[in-house]
């Protein structure tokens, strides 16, 4: 069952308010409701049924992304990023690729950030449960042609590669493109509803005001323009790594909040093949991990509009390729970045300012990533490779890769990212952590963060599974500590 969607109202009250309904918020709401708490979920975006929108389309960006998908972390260069803004958050719009929480990375986080009570066996057990709940599985039959390209190129070079499982269900006899995404609106949110959680959509929480030691008032505004408030005993802030720190800052909480944004910057290129490879409504499931975690290669959504976008940085030379868009797919090289960014809520501005600064090592990795990705695709049989940066050369042979290397500059490239983390890192190291080992914001009783903001760093892989594992761990600790009656 879907959650009971409440109408906008001037006043609501609840025991626990969960702000945001993505990977962190949906799991939080579900477990709290199942434990007997009175839960209200406030989601800034609308509820959009999956079947009513074409995946990776501009229409989807209009309906389910913040600002239509046009959001940028300012810097030299700026990095475009996207945020889901709908019931289910990013899980409704991302690639659906699942990476189990990387234990070596988490072990480092535990040590460096002094995260208490972080039991790696417990996280592994939670990951097992998440994988069952969202049906993590590989595609039936053959992967799509654009995915096969990655496998073929890596095999030719002897590079490590693998098919990444997804949270999907497939009908009997279905193939790679018949999957139904097991996002939060199909899994944890219905479970939360079945346990009694309520939900209000198109409802933005503008500010949290603590009143005494046991009461919080959330000032909210609805898409209709109505303003109201939600009173609660506890507030779980799960708006993602940009909106969560922005809300906390608007609420007067700034210590180590929003100062350490971490992302996986990516560069892109388009590659043309002799045969048709483009499946517009799906993304490749293979990834190449020969240089991981520093550098990973994968495939992007490749609607014809996105192919045109990838070619647009050197349109005067690349334009003719667009007629062959069915033979073209878009690929990316993603890096683990040592750079950091800021999220800054400015009084009077509705949206936060986001900045990001790459390090010289990041720039070198992106350059190397572009050249190696081009090599991979040539080995996979690409006839033409179109790197996405201003003045890029057309690459047809391996001996042109040195030209690519010489001409590439990060400042000319269209950088982007989809993995945003680390703006309220958790741990007991108060010199850099915005929340304690279980997400409780320091010196802000009753306000708990439970989303990607908590991860101390970008983990080098799609972070959704790690976000869900941490969120479930934290909320279980909360339940044990507070009990369903509010202990």
């Amino acid at each position: 069952m879907n959650p009971q969607l409440l109408a906008p109202a001037v006043s609501y009250s609840t025991q626990v308010l969960v702000i945001g309904s993505g990977a962190g918020g949906a799991t939080t709401a579900c477990l709290l409701a199942e434990a007997g708490f009175d839960v209200l979920i406030a989601e800034e975006g609308p509820w959009v049924e999956q079947d009513t929108v074409v995946p990776f389309s501009l229409e989807q960006m209009d309906r389910q992304y913040r600002a239509g998908g046009v959001t940028v972390a300012l810097g030299l260069p700026s990095i475009a990023y996207t945020e889901g803004r709908c019931a289910g958050g990013g899980t409704e719009v991302n690639s659906g690729l699942y990476f189990r929480p990387p234990i070596d990375v988490i072990e480092r986080w535990r040590r460096d950030y002094r995260i208490d009570g972080l039991d790696l066996d417990e996280l592994a057990l939670i990951a097992d449960q998440v994988e069952a709940a969202i049906n993590v599985t590989t595609v039936p039959g053959s992967p799509t042609p654009a995915s096969e390209v990655l496998r073929r190129g890596a095999a030719a070079l002897g590079w490590k590669h693998s098919e990444i499982p997804r949270w999907m269900t497939y009908p009997p006899g279905g193939d790679a493109v018949t999957g139904r995404r097991q996002s939060m609106t199909r899994t944890y949110l219905p479970r939360a509803a079945a346990a009694g959680a309520r939900m209000v959509t198109d409802c933005r929480v503008d500010r949290l005001v603590r009143e005494g030691t046991a009461s919080i008032r959330a000032q909210v505004s609805y898409a209709s323009g109505l303003r109201g408030e939600i009173r609660c005993q506890f507030a779980f802030v799960c708006g993602g790594a940009i909106q969560t720190p922005a809300l906390l800052q608007r609420s007067g909480l700034r210590r180590h909040i929003g100062r350490s944004l971490a992302v996986h910057p990516t560069v892109k290129l388009a590659a043309r093949f002799r045969d048709e490879v483009n499946i517009p409504d799906d993304v490749p499931v293979h990834q190449v991990k020969e240089f991981a975690p520093n550098l990973s290669f994968g495939g992007s959504a490749s609607h014809p509009g996105l192919v045109a976008l990838a070619l647009s940085d050197h349109w005067s030379e690349f334009a003719s390729a667009i007629e062959d868009w069915r033979k073209i797919s878009v690929y990316y090289a993603a890096i683990t970045s040592e750079g950091r960014g800021n999220v800054i809520a400015v009084p009077g501005l509705r949206d936060p300012i986001v900045t990001y600064r790459l390090t010289p090592r990041d720039r070198a990795l992106l350059r190397s990533g572009m050249a190696r990705l081009a090599l991979l695709l040539l080995e996979a049989g690409a006839t033409d490779v179109y790197p996405s940066f201003r003045g890029a050369p057309l690459i047809r042979h391996r001996d042109q890769l040195s030209t690519l290397n010489q001409q590439f500059a990060v400042s000319k490239a269209s950088l982007m990212t989809v993995h945003l983390c680390s703006t309220v890192p958790l741990g007991e190291d108060r010199s850099r952590c915005g929340a304690d080992s279980f997400g409780r914001v320091h010196d802000a009783g009753g306000i708990i963060v439970n989303d990607a903001s908590l991860l101390p760093d970008a983990p080098g892989v799609n972070p959704q599974a790690t976000v869900m594992a941490f969120a479930i761990r934290n909320v279980r600790h909360f339940i044990d500590t507070n009990g369903p009656s509010g202990g």
Partner: protein
């Protein structure tokens, strides 16, 4: 600048840019692509929209100068710091819309001989 609609500041330069880049694009399609572009600009985060609209105001003013066609060509083909990012944004939004809505559009913006201009279906899919 939230109250200033982007169509008045962004629209005229976007129109000239797309006409220059894609001379074969039917004017009705160009208008539709520009409508999409200005809608997206209107939904940008507040500070980003302020920055875009500030640059758009400069570009809008340049369009009334004599020999503005030459100027538009220069701005369209030269990657100037900051100003070039504005051109890149308009081009990205316009191209993405055009090829997602009419995937068989030719590189110069013209449509295949057997296609009719305009006429999108709900959801922005080609007619």
């Amino acid at each position: 600048m939230r109250s200033v609609p982007s169509s008045s500041l962004v629209g005229p330069f976007a129109d000239r840019l797309l006409a220059l880049d894609l001379p074969g694009l039917h004017p009705a399609r160009r208008r539709e692509a520009i409508d999409f572009t200005t809608r997206r600009v209107d939904s940008l985060p507040s500070l980003m929209r302020f920055g875009v609209m500030s640059i758009a105001a400069i570009f809008r003013a340049l369009l009334v100068l004599p020999r503005s066609d030459t100027l538009v060509k220069f701005l369209a083909r030269t990657a100037l710091p900051l100003l070039g990012e504005y051109v890149r944004l308009l081009r990205s939004l316009g191209y993405a819309y055009i090829w997602e809505t009419w995937p068989d559009t030719r590189p110069d913006g013209s449509q295949p001989d057997d296609a009719e201009p305009g006429g999108t279906q709900p959801g922005g899919r080609a007619a």
